[in-house]
């Protein structure tokens, strides 16, 4: 499996072929549509990451120090962004997630979705993944 760093590099390269905003968002939306919907059983309040504008459901699992994640959102764009995050983090060792420097959003020009803090729940999602990973280390 590729490392977090390698996956981020790959995403940045993928987006370099998509110079126009419309192309980037079309790609993101397709990515969101292709990623599986979260099972109803996981759409719980506990898994809900509330944003001011959109909501994300994040299901977390920890098995032998490996973090696996599933996510969904009511917004197609946020679901696409969450799918990118899952590509980077899901299936990775908890320790690697704790140490990861998440830089690809900025590199692909989509940092506004992350830096807008509470608006879409994405930043909160990153924080939750990191704190979950911290608990998962060594388990």
């Amino acid at each position: 499996m590729s490392t977090i760093q390698e996956i981020q590099t790959q995403i940045i390269e993928d987006f370099s072929f998509l110079p126009e905003w419309d192309e980037r968002y079309t790609y993101l939306i397709e990515l969101g549509q292709k990623s599986p919907a979260l099972a109803e059983a996981y759409r719980t309040d506990e898994n809900l990451v509330r944003g001011c504008q959109s909501q994300v459901w994040l299901h977390r699992d920890c098995c032998q120090g490996i973090v696996s994640l599933q996510a969904d959102s009511d917004s197609l764009i946020v679901k696409g962004l969450a799918a990118l995050l899952l590509q980077v983090f899901s299936g990775q060792p908890a320790e690697a997630i704790c140490q990861a420097d998440l830089h690809f959003f900025e590199a692909i020009g989509l940092n506004q979705h992350l830096s807008s803090q509470r608006t879409n729940g994405l930043m909160a999602m990153v924080e939750q993944i990191k704190s979950f990973a911290a608990q998962c280390v060594g388990k």
């Binding site: 968002y25 959109s54 764009i77």
Partner: protein
Amino acid sequence: MTIDIQKIRADFPILHTLVNGKPLVYLDNAATTQKPQIVIDTIVDYYSRYNSNIHRGTHHLSNLATEAHEAARKTVQRYINAEHTHEIIFTRGTTESINLVAYAFGEAFINPGDEIIFTMMEHHSNFVPWQMMCERRGVKYHVVPFDTQGDLRLDIFENLLNERTRLVAFNHVSNALGTINPAQRIIQMAHAAGAVVLLDAAQAVQHVDHDVRALDADFYVFSGHKIYGPTGIGILYGKEALLDAIPPYQGGGEMIEQVTVEKTTYNKLPFKFEAGTPNIVGAIGLAAAIDYLDALNFDEVMAHEDAVLAYGHKKLLEIEGLKIYGNAKRHTSIIPFNIEGVHHYDLGTLLDTRGVAVRTGHHCTQPIMTALGVEGTVRASLALYNNHEDIDVLVESIRQVLKILGR
């Protein structure tokens, strides 16, 4: 109509910038309005020529700044037709104005057994301070609902009013629905029951009638930045007798008459409520904005905004699956909508790539969204510089965006 929108647009430099490579179409005016060059120049002039602290005037600059600051108070008084200049209190904005009244009026006049009334249509800033006050004072509040069209249920309001009602707070124009509430009538009803009224004019003072004496509002509040002025400055108007009767809100410099170890006595109006060095340049900038607006014929401004609003309604409704919320009997400047199967965040994000600025979400009015049964809306909101072309770009951009969203 003699109002020249092209000329007005030329007065607002930001309208000529590019966003994401596209000419900006600014339709988020209910959040904040853009500033005409004269406001920007006034701010630069203040800092370049006479920046100084006020009301301590032994030197020339302090005198200049004090005069300009107090002239700004007169400008606000004239614009809202207050009886006295000292009935105009400078605050940080609508939110602080409301909190000031909720605290100071609450301390002086609200006692256990009393009741207050506000509405389901309020911005959180005219909702939460009252809930906090009621908790602090141990009193009950009632919330007036609105009907499916977005009109307040005045029949319910009438039934809620009683001899225990001390205060009624409501907005003149709803920031989420655009409803123009029948302020005069509501105020008359409240007064007949013996209640004091706070009118939140944050979305009204720049768009509709704003004569506090004709409205007979006891407290009238608004923000500078929504009426083409700077951020960080707002107004609390209160009738003299009421402002005299309520205690200060914050202690500090400016608001005192005499301080001794044993006791402090307070300054007279308006300074009693203006602790600390005020936002001097904000007040002066706000006056410049009001002068700018006042130099136009306000009836023509309203007629222009209404024409663009009506055009916006018509063009948007041509889009399949688009629903406009808030179709009150009288409404202004604000078009809240959703498109079936489309998330407001997705629409707002993609409109932004086309240089179209709208607001999406719950607009700090979660009770309204709950009542409408939605998570949020897209809100296009107008100011005097918007024109039919802005609406055309909005509608065309929505059509393009819907294709990207696979609709």
